[in-house]
Amino acid sequence: MLDSAVVATKKMFFREAIAKAVREEMALNDRIMVMGQDVGSFGGSYREFDGLFGEFGAERVRDMPVAENASIGIGAGAAAAGYRPLVTITYMDFLMLGFDPLINYAAKLRYKTAGGLTAPLVVKTTAGAQGQGVAHSQCIEAWLMSVPGLTVVAPSTPADAYGLMKTALRADGPVVYIDHKRLFPAPGEVPVLESLVPFGLAAVRRAGTDVTITAHSFMVRMALEAAETLESEGISCEVIDLRSLAPLDMPAIAQSVARTGALVTLEEGQLTSGVGAEVAARLFETTGHRRWARVGALPAPVSSNPVLEAACVPDARRVAEAVHKLLAR
């Protein structure tokens, strides 16, 4: 696992880690191209493609009009025909506009052609709440997890942003790569030399003995914050960063819960038919039942209103509360 290897690292921002991965892969493979709104000279909404336009030119780094459906469709078609497009969709809410080509075409292509065609497409999008309101804040990764043929990853650190993007750009089929508005300003250590994070491998971010907390993306930070607080109260939390949602690393979760005997699943999106429900269901299918609590958004849209937004999405306090309640059972 990345975290345990000894590698030279450099501190960089999430966005820089993404750019580094894309830059390296584009240099290695001239069939990779970046397509999306304002990815060209602007460098992406969060500067996550900074410099690529200058380095690789307008052929391989393409600004697109506001046309999410065709953007993903064109990406899927180019992928099926031998290229490796990275299509960006600014916010995950707008990904819905491209669900048809992504889900009805790209995710089914290998199956319906009996392996004859594949669509090595990466769709990068940004999830989560940060004052952007009801139609720019949603986390719908649980829907994507359920689509056969789709890979779904959601890094929480610059190192994983880097390593998972590199793996995505070498993958065989469509990958949805989800970052988060609140992660872009976060710095972290990123391997200097080329290094990949494989799909389907979770990472233990903090070792603990009393309860296992699973999370992905920005919520990993909330879990770690909660773990910090709880430690001072004598509760030891193990925090698992799922990183890859499809496939899920069930062995890692099972090993942890086997030790702690209690599971809190944490996600920023809706609990209903969410990531946590699936993690728990799969775990209990193999291990039998364990104590479990889930934490996620309240069942309401996420307003841009600072009070209502904060009330809706989970924070460290709610995670800590859930842990308390669960361990008191």
Binding site: G40, P65, N69, A135, A300, S304, V307
Partner: protein, 306 residues
Amino acid sequence: MTPNALDMLRAMARIRAFETALSERKDHGFQLLSSGEEAVAVGLASALTERDQLLTGGRSIGPAIARGVDPRAVMAELLGKTAGVNGGRAGRGHLSDPASGFFGAHAVVGGNISIAAGVALAKQMDGDGGIVAILFGDGACGAGALHETLNIAAKWKLPLLFVCNNNQWSVSTSREDALAPARLSDLGKTFGLPSRTIDGLDVEAVAAALGEAAQSVRRGEGPAFVECISIRLRSHSTTARETRKRDELAELRTRCPIRRQIARLGLDDDAVEALERDAADFAAAALAFAEASPYPSAAEVLTDVG
């Protein structure tokens, strides 16, 4: 001087002052302002009556105020306060006040166009003589929702006025780079709509052209399409990077629709000062009102969900 030329100027100046006051506060996260586009909002508002409804994309502050939504309630909304026109929960890009003829903004680019057609369908079935105007940007012209809606609106002869505020940019992407049609109004023409492209910096021209288009819609002749070519004097949002050069921006400022209308009306310094004072007062009153209003309580988070 057309009868309301001065009123329209005053309305534009008020929008400018309102947005400037707003932009100086930081507690709203960010905002999509409309400096350079006031003539479109004000000209469009002049073409609408009480019975009509206006819907817009996310860049909605100017249009809402021009339409007559209480500016105090708009400011409160944008700052997330309970006295906001939607209790502070819509915020930037989503405010609405149907009672004032502003059916609402919707921040998904292109997303409000079909909604507006639905409101127009309701108007048509109501038969009350009202029409609906939908204001969207050049960026929205790349979206399939426009095509689908144009087609259905044309077939059903909906009382819907398509108004494209072509400020020539979608964030950092120029209209030229994004869109192939020679004129964006050609998109309406294809579906048989009366379609024009006009100067969106000339508030009187906008009022005249949209007034005429609104009349044809009101007469039951079906939808019409007007492209207003305008400019965006500020960056995409108050937190977005500006991508244009200084001299380009300086040139743009010489074309400011407010300065242009002042010049056309030949206002003297006193009159300009009075105009600016009125606008500043307008903005200050809105800000004071908004500041006095509290934030909602967290307990509200689960109310009015479904």
